[in-house]
C-alpha cells in the first residue's frame, strides 16, 4: 500500500502530500471531540440529556423550554471557545517547534504567554477596578508587544533559531519575574483571581468572545496550513531549506507571525492554558509522523479535544468548585503523554 496521499487539484495552485493515516485519524478525532462536546454541554448543575443537547444545538424542538437558554446561551459557546483555543494553541505550538527545531519549544518560547500574563496580571492586581472586559485586549497587546520585542532583539542581520530561543527565554524571564512580583506582593484576593487567569480558564465565555476569536483562528490557521510545505523545509535546517529554494527570512517571519497571532488570541481569550501547545504537536507526530501537511490539522484537533475534555473534567472533579481547565490539561495530558512515550518504546 502506498504510504502517501497526494492532493493536487488541477485548478488551484496548491498541493498537499499527506500521510495515508491522516484522513481516518482526522475523522476519529472529530468524532471524539463531538462526543466530548455533547457530554460537556449536557453536564452541569442543571443536566441536559445528550439527545436533547444535540436536538437543541440543531435547532429542533425539545420538550423543555429551558434547554434552549442553557445550551445555546450558557454552555455551547463556552465549549466552542475551549475547542477553538485548544486548536489555536496546538497549531502555534507545532509551528514554533518546527521553526526552532526544538522539541521543548511551545508558544511560550516566543514570549506570548509571558507578555499576556504580565499585562493581564497587572490589570487584575494593580487596577482591580477596571472592567473585566479590558483583560483580553490587554493580554493580546502584551503578547504582541513581547513577541515583537523578542523578534527585534534577536534580529542581527538575519534571524536565527538559537538566538530566537535564547532571547525569548531572556524576555520571558523578565516578564515572568515582574508577574511573580505582583503575585508575591499583591492583595491576596486579587492574586487568587490572577492565579485563575494564569492557569487558563474558559469560565463564562460567550458568543461575543467566540466571534472575536474566530477570525484569528480561521485566518491564521489557514495560512499555517498553506505554509506547511515551507515548514517542512525549514525543519531540515537553514542551509538545506535555503538550497531547497526557501525564502528563509520571509517564510520564517510569516510563520512566526501566525504562531504569535494564534497563540496571542488564544491566550487573550482564555488565559494562558499551558501544555497544549507543547503536547499536541508531539501527540500529532506519534499519530501521523512529522510531515506538516498532515501534522498541523491532526495536532490542532488533538489540542481542541484535550481542552474540551479538560474543561469538562475541571467542572466535574471538585464540583461545585470549578478548577480552571488549564490545570486539568496538564493533569490529564501529561500522564497520557508519558504513556505514549513509553508505549512506543519497542516500535
Amino acid at each position: 500500500m502506498k504510504q502517501w496521499l497526494v492532493v493536487r487539484p488541477p485548478q488551484v495552485p496548491i498541493s498537499f502530500h499527506l500521510d495515508r493515516r491522516v484522513p481516518s485519524i482526522l475523522l476519529c478525532l472529530i468524532l471524539a471531540t463531538l462526543v466530548a462536546m455533547v457530554l460537556s454541554v449536557g453536564q452541569g448543575e442543571y443536566p441536559v440529556p445528550p439527545l436533547d443537547v444535540i436536538k437543541t444545538a440543531l435547532g429542533l424542538e425539545t420538550n423543555n423550554p429551558d434547554f434552549d437558554f442553557i445550551v445555546m446561551t450558557l454552555r455551547l459557546p463556552r465549549t466552542l471557545v475551549a475547542w477553538g483555543v485548544g486548536m489555536g494553541l496546538a497549531i502555534a505550538g507545532t509551528i514554533t517547534q518546527g521553526i526552532t527545531r526544538n522539541p521543548l519549544a511551545s508558544p511560550g518560547i516566543i514570549g506570548v504567554n509571558a507578555g499576556a500574563s504580565l499585562a493581564a496580571v497587572t490589570l487584575i492586581v494593580l487596577y482591580p477596578d477596571l472592567p473585566i472586559a479590558l483583560i483580553p485586549w490587554a493580554a493580546f497587546g502584551g503578547a504582541l508587544t513581547v513577541a515583537v520585542l523578542i523578534y527585534l532583539l534577536a534580529w542581527q542581520g538575519g534571524s536565527s533559531p538559537v538566538r530566537l530561543i535564547l532571547v525569548g527565554v531572556g524576555c520571558s524571564l523578565i516578564a515572568g519575574s515582574l508577574t511573580n512580583l505582583m503575585v508575591t506582593f499583591g492583595n491576596i484576593y486579587n492574586v487568587s483571581q490572577a492565579l485563575v487567569w494564569l492557569a487558563g480558564s474558559v469560565y463564562g465565555r460567550s458568543w461575543e468572545q467566540l466571534t472575536v476569536f474566530l477570525p484569528w483562528l480561521s485566518g491564521f490557521g489557514l495560512l499555517s496550513l498553506l505554509m506547511s510545505r515551507e515548514l517542512n523545509a525549514l525543519q531540515l535546517g537553514d542551509e538545506v531549506a535555503r538550497s531547497l529554494g526557501s525564502r528563509l527570512e520571509l517564510q520564517r517571519s510569516l510563520l512566526l507571525l501566525s504562531s504569535v497571532a494564534l497563540a496571542g488570541s488564544s491566550v487573550a481569550t482564555a488565559g494562558s492554558i499551558g501544555f497544549v501547545g507543547l503536547m499536541a504537536p508531539h501527540l500529532g507526530r506519534q499519530l501521523v509522523g512529522p510531515s506538516h501537511e498532515g501534522l498541523l490539522p491532526v495536532a490542532a484537533l488533538t489540542g481542541g479535544f484535550v481542552v474540551v475534555v479538560a474543561d469538562l473534567l475541571g467542572r466535574l472533579l471538585f464540583a461545585p468548585i470549578e478548577l480552571p481547565c488549564g490545570i486539568i490539561t496538564a493533569i490529564v495530558g501529561a500522564p497520557y503523554f508519558l504513556y505514549v512515550l513509553i508505549r512506543d518504546r519497542n516500535s
Binding site: P103, A105, I109, L173, A199, I327, G333, A334, L338, D344
Partner: protein, 341 residues
C-alpha cells in the same frame, strides 16, 4: 535538536582559562565581602574582619555573624550549586533550554512544600527544607525512570520530554492547591519566589554535605561530560560507558539542585543562564565550564541578593525575582553579540 552557541572553541581566549579562574575567585571574594558589608546598616570591611576574628559583641558585629554571614554563605552555595547543576543538565540533554527545572526538581520541591502547608499546616523553613528535598528527589528519580522507559532508552529527547511533561503535571497540581486554598497561597507565596534571606546557619550546615558531594562529583565528571555532549554515539564509540555517566550526572544534579531548593526555595534563571554565559567565554569544554559556572553562579546570586536588599530600602525583594530583572538584559545583550548562527 539545536546546537549550543559556540564561538571561541578553536580560538585562543583573551585571558588564559586558568588565570581567568583565579581572577574569578578574586571577584567572587570581593562580591562576598560586599554582600556581607552592604545593606540597610552599612558596615566597613574592617569591622567585618574583626567580627570573624575577634568577636566583641557590638551590634554591627552581631549583625554580621547572625544575619549577613549566613545569608551570604547561602547565596554563594546556592548560586554555584544551581549553576553547575544547570550546566550538567544542558550537557546531558544537549538542549540549550534545559535547566535543573527540566528534571522536575523545582516543581517537585514546590509541590511537596505546598502540599505540606495545605495538609499538615507546616510553617517553618526547616520543615519546608525537608519536604523540598524529598519532593526534589522523588521528582528527579521519577523523571529519570520515565525517560528511560521511552523508545531507545534514556535519550536526551526522552529525558527532556518526560521532564517537561512531569513538570507541567506537578506544577498544575501545585497551582490547583493554591487556587483551592487562599490560606496556603498567603502562607507560601514568598517561599515560592525564592529567597536567601533569613536562612539559619544550622539549616545550611545540614544541607552542606549534599551540596559538597554533588559538587565534587560534578567537577570530576568534566571530561566524561564533554565527551557525552558530543552525542551518545560518539561517546560510545570513544569507549565511554554512557549509562554510568548519565546516572552519575543525575545523582550530582539531584544533590546540587535538590540541596539548593531545600535551602532557598525554587530559584530559576541561574541554572538556565549561567552555563550559556560561561560558554561564551570558555567554549564547550566541560572541564572548564563546570568550575567557571560555579564561580559565575555564585557571583550572580550574591550581586542579585545585594540588589534585592538595596532596591527599595528598608523593604526587601525575594532574590529569585530580582535576578532575572538584573541578569536577563545582560543575557540578551550577550546573545545578540555572541550567537552567530
Amino acid at each position: 535538536m539545536s546546537t549550543v552557541p559556540v564561538r571561541r572553541q578553536l580560538l585562543q581566549p583573551p585571558v588564559p582559562l586558568g588565570l581567568g579562574l583565579i581572577l574569578g575567585l578574586g571577584l567572587l571574594l570581593i562580591c562576598f565581602m560586599a554582600s556581607v558589608g552592604l545593606g540597610v546598616a552599612d558596615i566597613n570591611p574592617k569591622t567585618v574582619y574583626l567580627a570573624l576574628t575577634a568577636f566583641d559583641g557590638s551590634t554591627d558585629q552581631l549583625i554580621i555573624r547572625t544575619v549577613r554571614m549566613p545569608r551570604s554563605i547561602t547565596a554563594l552555595l546556592v548560586g554555584s550549586a544551581v549553576a553547575v547543576a544547570g550546566a550538567i543538565m544542558q550537557g546531558l540533554t544537549r538542549n540549550p533550554l534545559a535547566d535543573p527545572g527540566i528534571l522536575g526538581i523545582n516543581a517537585g520541591a514546590a509541590l511537596a512544600v505546598v502540599g505540606s502547608v495545605f495538609w499538615l499546616g507546616s510553617t517553618s523553613l526547616k520543615v519546608y527544607a525537608g519536604f523540598a528535598l524529598l519532593g526534589a528527589a522523588i521528582a528527579a528519580i521519577t523523571v529519570y525512570a520515565l525517560g528511560s522507559l521511552g523508545q531507545g532508552g534514556l535519550t536526551p529527547l526522552n529525558l527532556t520530554i518526560a521532564g517537561a511533561a512531569f513538570q507541567a503535571l506537578v506544577s498544575s497540581l501545585t497551582t490547583g492547591i493554591l487556587i483551592l486554598s487562599q490560606q496556603t497561597l498567603e502562607e507560601i507565596r514568598f517561599w515560592l519566589a525564592g529567597s536567601v534571606a533569613g536562612r539559619d546557619l544550622d539549616l545550611v550546615v545540614q544541607v552542606l554535605p549534599y551540596l559538597a558531594v554533588g559538587m565534587v562529583m560534578a567537577l570530576l565528571m568534566g571530561k566524561q561530560l564533554t565527551t557525552l555532549s558530543l552525542g551518545e554515539d560518539i561517546a560510545q564509540g570513544l569507549g565511554q560507558k554512557t549509562a554510568w555517566v548519565k546516572i552519575a550526572a543525575a545523582v550530582s544534579i539531584i544533590l546540587l539542585a535538590g540541596g539548593s531548593v531545600a535551602i532557598s526555595g525554587p530559584i530559576g534563571f541561574v541554572g538556565l543562564i549561567v552555563p550559556h554565559i560561561v560558554r561564551f567565554w570558555v567554549g564547550v569544554d566541560y572541564r572548564w565550564i563546570l568550575p567557571y559556572a560555579a564561580i559565575v553562579g555564585a557571583i550572580l546570586l550574591l550581586i542579585a541578593d545585594i540588589g534585592a536588599r538595596l532596591v527599595i530600602q528598608p523593604q526587601e525583594l525575594p532574590v529569585g525575582l530580582v535576578m532575572p530583572l538584573l541578569g536577563a538584559p545582560f543575557f540578551i545583550y550577550l546573545t545578540r553579540w555572541q550567537v552567530r548562527r
